[in-house]
Symmetry: C2
Subunit: 491 residues, 2 copies
Amino acid sequence: MAKALTSREENYSQWYNELVVKADLAENSAVRGSMVIKPYGYAIWEKMQAVLDKMFKDTGHSNAYFPLFIPKSFFSKEADHVDGFAKECAVVTHYRLRNKEDGKGIEVDPEAKLEEELIVRPTSETIIWNTYKNWIQSYRDLPILCNQWANVVRWEMRTRLFLRTAEFLWQEGHTAHATKEEAIEETKQMIDVYKDFAENYLAVPVVQGTKSDSERFAGALDTYTIEALMQDGKALQSGTSHFLGQNFAKAFDVKFTNKEGKQDLVWATSWGVSTRLMGALIMAHSDDNGLVLPPKLAPIQVVIVPIYKGNEQFAKVSEKANEIKKALEAKGISVKFDNRDTHKPGFKFAEWELKGVPVRLAMGMRDLDNGTIEVARRDTYEKNTLQIDGIETYVESLLNEIQENIFKKAIDFRTDMTTKVDSYDEFKKVLEDKGGFILAHWDGTPETEDKIKNDTKATIRCIPLDAPEEDGVCIISGKPSKKRVLFAKAY
Amino acid sequence: MAKALTSREENYSQWYNELVVKADLAENSAVRGSMVIKPYGYAIWEKMQAVLDKMFKDTGHSNAYFPLFIPKSFFSKEADHVDGFAKECAVVTHYRLRNKEDGKGIEVDPEAKLEEELIVRPTSETIIWNTYKNWIQSYRDLPILCNQWANVVRWEMRTRLFLRTAEFLWQEGHTAHATKEEAIEETKQMIDVYKDFAENYLAVPVVQGTKSDSERFAGALDTYTIEALMQDGKALQSGTSHFLGQNFAKAFDVKFTNKEGKQDLVWATSWGVSTRLMGALIMAHSDDNGLVLPPKLAPIQVVIVPIYKGNEQFAKVSEKANEIKKALEAKGISVKFDNRDTHKPGFKFAEWELKGVPVRLAMGMRDLDNGTIEVARRDTYEKNTLQIDGIETYVESLLNEIQENIFKKAIDFRTDMTTKVDSYDEFKKVLEDKGGFILAHWDGTPETEDKIKNDTKATIRCIPLDAPEEDGVCIISGKPSKKRVLFAKAY
């Protein structure tokens, strides 16, 4: 193992960057802002994909695939959308290279200029609604419930692994409906799916709410979000679901004949989560020794480390370890038997701690003689020596317990870090001294929102769906307000 | 249903194009050369991915993800590679758009020109070997066995859905090894994996072999291929596995310390299959009524069509149909109960035939009274009325039988369409009158290969691995040859 991680206390941001690289999750590439997702990091993403994909299919969606490139003119068709997306993006202008005349290297062939530039998709509403136009004639063709797993590109100036990268991986759902009510229902259903996933798989509690006007998706009438709290007290927007109204149908002229035989514009939603969820997963649970992975998303749930001297002992311990591995695997648990003879147990312990494996089993000759094994939890560092007999049942329930414990810890943290404030002074003091989520009354105007953002860098994360109605006054303007909204500094 | 498909006899190419679109597999998009893969087509691709992904993991590989963009200069580093790939490709030159001064639309911002252009990956050897450089110091870091599921772009002039598109989906494996022998072993292993997949899942028999110098992958020392025969007598290259020697290690300076403590260049392989396999699947088995899908890759394996008049009959038939559906699903069979009341049974029959569902069950009131059901096979059109009791066991074995029968039919076709010829006149006659695979002696020179290609458009598909040693003379030059090679016109 190389030197220890920077601690969270010392420098949270550096701790994160080091952890992502040292735990073999991802690294920066030779291409500015683009990352390489390494096998261990990708294995976590694959587990996320599998769970989400099943949730999407269980709610009636199918996957499809739409082009990477979008003609430039498509972006001009939806006025808000172009402002939100078409500006900072990768533009393909040519389709050929040629050898340089001096023979040294290659250059763009000026003869191979595209008539119309192509934009590398930053999101696919435009190309998809241009396609849906041909799929929809009658109400019988509706709803269309498609999802796409894809890469997208947004030319970000300041990038951070997983949290903000020029290219990232995501899924984008795009649905088309005959009625407004059905589209709103779909929008809400998908933000519920995301909450379910965040809480029951990532073990990250989230606040569901709607975005204020200024934070809404470019082209949406309403944006639903799930907001998670990281250990440094900053919020991370973890998934969004947009009710797009008839905006894209208007822009791409997508009409259908309704049951009454009349022409109507189609109603739209879109919703997505991305590799950003990897950032949420890492930042919500991990500690100064490395990753803490929720068992449901850990590529390796249990590691077995043998303690031995010499080949004879190794053979004996290995035999038992392989038995245990099989018994665990029979229960659907993923197990790594770390039988490397190039590293000592202490090194292995630290490495698997760094990589966040939820349960570590260690076994030496004395254990073998006694029929025991040492069980260590990654989340609490608790260690117990237990009988090997029945260990697979114990580990199975321990994994569930760890999943629950990680989630509970995150909830407790969020409870501690959520503060109600009733004045702007208090707001600023809490933000500065403590951070976290702040619940405060707001008069609903963009001016107030802007002022707070400019003063403090805190933004309205959402107007929580479950906020109770209460009489209050805006902390800035003193105007009346009916519910508190959620403020925080955010990633 | 719209009008019937053009028949294969009448116009094979048009039959293919119509089938792809009418069976809801894919369609052309607004972006030249880029396709939209529709949900039904994508569901087949997902099934392919799942099987292949498992095969890759079972042979020790992990998935990872590398950047979409590759700096232009990377392509100049491997001399052969640049000639093969860097020419016809999408080039990103700018990273921002701006509003036009006249307020009408948007344009590329000339201020936002990239210092170095980025190429949208046509294949990822260069960016991956530039990454591997930092992953490899010692023999202990080897082998690296990565695979990537990704989109790639090659600026093709003439495109056809699935067979040749500017953007396509694929997987690309990239492995790094300490020894030449191990790399060659890996190259061969992966072409065996592809053959296994093609024959046992796609039900398409393939000839394994190596490519001649001129058909080899740009940058490879040896390219292994699997070649399939389509119903029009043309070959389709369906997967390749490349032994890259130390070419990319040289180009990107990737060295490791071997067991003897000496520096050595790393050995490489790469291998891939793409959405082109969808083309193989469609063209190998389908008929004038539509798709014929091998059961192992069919998104819907069984469709149940109810025959009824009025709500009362519908309720009765539905009840039984749902029972049968459950019994089939309990066996892991995917079933669609087509309970649409907007279409008549005849329409449904034709639609599911077009979509290639392997088994159709139809049931009306008389069946219900007799405890029978009609079972129709897509591959042979055979129909039988059978007892409902135990139908799930019958259907299960029928699906296996269909899988085998489709494969056998394709093998028989290939046997009929493979001809040994011993003179150039015979070669040309067979090619013109019959088509298919031609086995002929070749003197091993690119000149001969070129002449044949220029005269006839036939190319050497491969030098088959299982070709028996026999004394012969080249059909062009009369020079001695030790084995026959495989010629065909190809997609």
